[in-house]
């Protein structure tokens, strides 16, 4: 077998386990988020206090994602950690630079006002691209 040949990325068992935790926490966070978002947009939640309580609940679940990701990064195979950190650096850079540039264009009236979700999507796509490119670079 030619071991120098490019192969699919095979994470260690520890990384796979921690990645599964991130996925589970992400689902536990995003599904209630979508539900609460839908309820708020359709005025299904009667009071501000209930909306606040639901938002706090969703935020706590989001902290679960954050902690799961932190555990993954701390225990990750060191090449995996480098790829993740490179992708995160790229994501922050692209997010900040594109956000500021868009603000200038928006101020000049060249582009319409963007929603926060647009910036989040740009960052998510950048992060995934960074991870995939990093894995291909080292595989």
């Amino acid at each position: 077998m030619n071991e120098a040949k490019k192969t699919h990325w095979a994470a260690t068992e520890r990384d796979q386990k921690n990645q599964r935790h991130i996925i589970l926490w992400s689902l536990a966070w995003i599904l209630p988020f979508l539900g609460v978002n839908l309820a708020i947009e359709n005025d299904w939640i009667g009071s501000d206090a209930l909306a606040l309580a639901a938002t706090i609940g969703v935020t706590v679940l989001g902290l679960g994602v954050l902690l799961a990701y932190r555990r993954f990064l701390r225990n990750a195979d060191e090449l995996m950690r480098k790829i993740q950190l490179d992708a995160l650096a790229l994501t922050v850079g692209v997010g900040v630079v594109s956000g500021f540039s868009y603000t200038l264009l928006e101020g000049a009236g060249i582009v319409a006002e963007a929603e926060a979700m647009t910036l989040i999507m740009v960052m998510v796509v950048t992060y995934i691209t960074g991870v995939v490119v990093g894995q291909r670079r080292f595989s």
Partner: protein
Amino acid sequence: MKNRLKVLRAERDWTQAQLAQALEVSRQTVNAIETGKFDPSLPLAFRIAHLFEEHIEEIFEPE
């Protein structure tokens, strides 16, 4: 950093996967170190040296 990891591994007739398992890293990490794309951390370099029963400077040297 140059290293003799591939030579040491070949001397023992180990695959990258076997070495990766012994070092508790991914096979891609072993491959990246062997090809000089990635320099290991000091703790991993010590684990490699311990596994092959050599000093770090006998395995790794600056280019």
